[in-house]
């Protein structure tokens, strides 16, 4: 951590977004994580994505569980709503908040311990239900706060800092999310912001359950030779299937791509996702294909990154439940509880 507060001065030529904010206006408190932590780069990426989308900070709810990753919502969007919940319980708190107020943008921030161990069930059910959220796992493969034990996402055969080999099989959260029906699935790397920032922006604009697994090296306990979550290992084994540009509104696609290499995906709200294909055979609309592709590459030790699956026509839990457009928390008591006469009527209809 750092003792002094980050100075308020900023670069005189910083650009402002449509709301008149610079990216500095999306910062939170100064990070107390270890120097060089990958999580801080994810924090910076979230700041950048929210700045680029001109999101009003008070329209965001950032919700987390417990762990290094779950501390990070304190470090971005200092003017947003936040809830630092119980270990592994971010998904249920987020689901509840989302049901109460569908108008906010929900950012679920979690880690591999929080989501793949103690909160594995919670993770699964929030995805399965299609809660409209951006679920980010800051995945370092290690329990950093308790000094470096393997987490459930540590690869079998990888070595701890002390030299112990992991004998358990790893949970691949991306594979699970695909299987459980997430409608936006991506994997990225904290050390590659050019890939990560547009993915976060696209996920925020996606209606439905968006899941991003971000590999985030733990400098203190998981950045050594033998680790499969180190900067060096991820850089060497990173197999990006595509690059993404997010186009909001009517911005034309001005980037000059070779013909046939760009696929434009239009999401519900009109956001266009321009996907530059790096792997010609990869189709991000094919859920089954994606699962096979991932499994095949994982077997070869490759880390597949990019936008792996997107369903642009997805819907969410509110659609499934047919809730009213008005957020429930703004409905008056007499609307929410219309009285015994209405109840009698409902009961009568069920007899």
């Amino acid at each position: 951590m750092t003792y002094i507060a980050k100075p308020k001065f900023h670069h005189p030529s910083l650009k402002k977004n449509d709301l008149g904010y610079t990216h500095r206006d999306y910062e939170g408190k100064i990070s107390t994580l270890c120097a060089g932590c990958g999580h801080d780069s994810i924090t910076a990426s979230i700041i950048e994505a929210c700045y680029e989308l001109s999101i009003e900070p008070h329209r965001v709810a950032k919700i987390s569980g417990i762990g290094c990753s779950s501390k990070t919502p304190d470090y971005f969007l200092g003017n947003s709503h936040g809830f630092n919940s119980v270990h592994g319980r971010m998904p249920s708190v987020l689901t509840g908040a989302n049901l109460a107020n569908r108008d906010l943008i929900y950012l679920g921030v979690s880690g591999d311990g929080d989501s793949a161990s103690i909160g594995f069930g919670q993770f699964a059910h929030s995805i399965r239900r299609g809660v409209n959220m951006t679920y980010i796992v800051e995945n370092n493969g290690v329990y950093g706060l308790t000094k470096g034990q393997f987490s459930a996402t540590a690869d079998r055969g990888s070595k701890s800092k002390k030299g112990v080999t992991n004998t358990d099989n790893a949970i691949d959260l991306v594979a699970i999310a695909l299987q459980l029906g997430a409608t936006f699935v991506a994997r990225s790397f904290s050390g590659d912001k050019t890939q990560l920032v547009p993915l976060i922006a696209a996920a925020i604009r996606h209606k439905g359950a968006s899941f991003i697994d971000v590999i985030s090296p733990c400098i203190a306990f998981n950045n050594h030779a033998g680790s499969t979550k180190s900067f060096d290992y991820v850089r060497e084994h990173n197999d990006a299937v595509n690059r993404l540009d997010v186009l909001v509104g009517r911005d034309p696609i001005s980037v000059d791509y070779a013909p046939g290499t760009v696929q434009v995906v239009e999401q519900h709200d009109g956001t266009k996702l321009a996907l530059r294909k790096l792997d010609a055979d990869y189709d991000p609309h094919d859920r089954l294909g994606a699962q096979t592709f991932l499994a095949r590459h994982a077997a070869k030790g490759q880390i597949v990154t990019g936008l792996l699956y997107v369903d642009p026509e997805a819907d969410d839990l509110h659609t499934h439940l047919d809730t009213v457009e008005t957020p429930l928390n703004t409905l008056e008591a007499d609307t929410l509880c219309p009285g015994s006469a209405v109840l009698d009527k409902i009961n009568a209809s069920l007899r």
Binding site: H10, I30, A35, G36, S41, N223
Partner: protein, 599 residues
């Protein structure tokens, strides 16, 4: 771009903008830190070594450092460097025991013509080495224009006495009241070297109709100021016009206000913005109820029966030609006469060397200026050196000091049998400031305070007494606040490419978006690709060698706060904060080899 060679002494020197801009290269952040610590005497001695007259300059310097100050690019105003220098002088203890001792005489005699800042700087450097320095001046006391032309309400005599005495106390012989009127005679006295620091002593004339007829009420600015300074003049008419827009004009009008001038106006040919006077001197004049009228060219002194009654001005406007050069053309408005009792002409200063005979071996150029080498300050006579205003025309005290240091070095090298064109490299010290994981030996917390105003004496009292100093100087508390605004630009961000793991921590924490990891390229292209694009080519980009991913680290030095957060957030120590000190080479510097000790 090529990796930056940070071992070149100039690279980090340029990052310390204030020090680089100072002609004498005073280590500004170093003395400001000492002021913050309350070590005023230490701060004073650092100044004394570099600029010789801290107390005088702390009141009168033209402050080239302040427009250069990085703080001025980060927020509205630069650090009040000049007035902090005065703080060191005001609050120091007795420092006499810290001054060099007159060395054993080496038998060599140096004549110094003029007792102003240039000559005294030469004497300061040479006397401790054993040279017998003899300073000649027409005035009875040392100080030159600092004593004769700068009004006492800006610079009290006590300050001049103190700081000239430090130099004369080094065994320098001062021959006051002895004006040199023949270079030939001086040469025949077989001095080992002669230094001419006689300034630019002649005020420029304004030859327009009525000048001769109304002469008794028209005064040349610098002569009049000198007469006031020495007590020969003690009053002036109620209505005074000051012609000219430089600092001398500002001194004239403010002095006139104190000698009975009730309605004092400054009239300038150019626009207000283009005036040569420093902005703060204009402010001080305006504060004393002196209007500054611009775009008015004096065309006639009006007089009746040999008595001045006013000045007539043609009204002009600025027009710019295709090359962007400004021309003043009549605006078409009718001529305007301003009534007055006295006029002070402060339209410039000129050099005058009537005492240098043509056959002294000293050549002059077509502007009647001596041909002087800008590096060594030697004239075409190898034993005669020039410095200060005498060398290149009117500048400021700090330039005279810088010239003095360089001329002294030349004289010392010449008399040691060394080539004077060979200038030794300065010695550079670079040392890490790391004390602990988050601890540095400097205060890296950035103060958000705005520039503190220097307290002034009440105007009514100040205008009554010409010797009452207007500026009271910072008190200890204000000085500390102002000192904390300094960004410590001499504590450098030093990057080691082999240690970097490209985790982006420095990029993420940097409050100023100074750091970018990107593919290398040509400078113009790279400048556009920075996290915050930088069109300011005068500010360096610090480029690393190739990193593991094939990219390079590029740091834009422009608005770096030197807060050290990059180094605090770096997990591998690839960034470090290292204090850079450069010892400018003066005559007799202990080490004059080419050795460098940069990181």
């Amino acid at each position: 771009m090529k990796p930056t060679d940070i071992s070149a002494p100039d690279y980090f020197h340029k990052v310390v903008d204030c020090q680089w801009a100072c002609p004498a290269h005073t280590p500004v952040p170093e003395y400001i830190r000492l002021i913050a610590e309350g070590r005023y005497s230490d701060a004073y001695m650092i100044n004394w070594k570099s600029n010789v007259f801290p107390g005088i300059l702390g009141r009168t310097c033209d402050r080239p450092c302040e427009p250069a100050c990085r703080r001025g690019r980060v927020e509205e105003n630069p650090v009040a460097i000049c007035r902090l220098k005065r703080v060191a002088a005001d609050f120091k203890d007795d420092i006499k025991h810290r001054l060099p001792k007159p060395g054993p005489k080496n038998g060599k005699r140096i004549a110094l013509v003029g007792g102003g800042p240039a000559s005294l700087s030469v004497a300061r450097d040479l006397a401790p080495l054993g040279y017998h320095c003899i300073v000649f001046d027409g005035d009875p006391k040392a100080g030159g224009m600092m004593r004769s032309q700068i009004p006492k309400f800006r610079l009290p005599d006590s300050v001049i006495d103190e700081e000239t005495d430090y130099i004369l106390g080094l065994g320098v012989e001062f021959r006051g009241g002895q004006r040199v009127d023949s270079m030939k005679a001086l040469l025949s006295d077989k001095y080992d070297a002669i230094f001419v620091g006689s300034g630019a002593p002649r005020g420029r004339e304004l030859d327009i109709p009525g000048r001769k007829e109304a002469a008794s009420n028209i005064h040349i600015g610098i002569e009049w100021l000198a007469n006031v300074s020495f007590g020969h003049v003690s009053k002036i008419g109620k209505r005074v016009i000051v012609l000219g827009g430089g600092n001398t004009a500002m001194d004239c009008c403010r002095t006139a206000r104190r000698l009975g001038g009730e309605s004092v106006k400054v009239v300038v040919r150019s626009g207000f913005e283009e005036m040569k006077a420093s902005p703060w001197e204009k402010e001080d004049a305006i504060h004393e109820d002196i209007p500054i009228l611009n775009y008015m060219v004096p065309i006639e002194f009006k007089h009746v029966g040999g008595k001045l009654i006013g000045v007539t001005f043609q009204q002009v406007k600025a027009e710019y030609d295709a090359k962007g050069r400004r021309n003043l053309v009549p605006s078409g408005d009718p001529d305007h006469t301003i009534a007055c009792d006295d006029v002070l002409v402060a339209v410039g200063q000129e050099n005058a060397f009537p005492w240098i005979e043509a056959d002294c071996g000293i050549e002059f150029d077509k502007w009647h200026m001596p041909k002087v080498d800008p590096k060594t300050f030697v004239s075409t006579n190898p034993k005669v050196f020039f410095g200060g205003d005498a060398a290149f025309g009117p500048k400021n005290i700090i330039w005279a000091v810088a010239h003095g240091h360089d001329a002294a070095l030349s004289i010392h090298r010449m008399l040691s049998g060394e080539d004077i064109t060979e200038r030794p490299l300065p010695e550079v010290h670079v040392s890490s400031q790391k004390m602990g994981i988050h601890e540095w030996s400097y205060d890296n917390d950035i103060s958000a305070d705005q520039r503190f105003k220097v307290p002034h004496r009440d105007k009514v009292i100040a205008l009554k007494d010409i010797r009452a100093e207007v500026e009271l100087g910072y008190d200890v508390k204000l000085a500390l606040g102002e000192a904390q605004r300094c960004l410590n630009c001499d504590v450098q961000t030093v990057f080691s490419a082999p240690l970097c793991i490209e985790c982006d921590a420095c990029v993420d924490i940097c409050p100023m978006d100074c750091i970018t990891f990107t593919e290398n390229g040509e400078e113009d292209d790279v400048r556009q690709r920075l996290k915050a694009p930088s069109p300011h080519h005068d500010q360096a980009l610090y480029v690393s060698g190739d990193l593991k991913t094939g990219r390079v680290m590029i740091k834009d030095e422009d608005v770096c706060l030197h807060c050290g957060l990059c180094a605090e957030r770096c997990p591998t120590g690839a960034w470090d904060m290292q204090k850079y000190l450069i010892d400018m080479v003066h005559a007799g510097s202990s080490c004059q080899s080419k050795a460098r000790s940069a990181a």
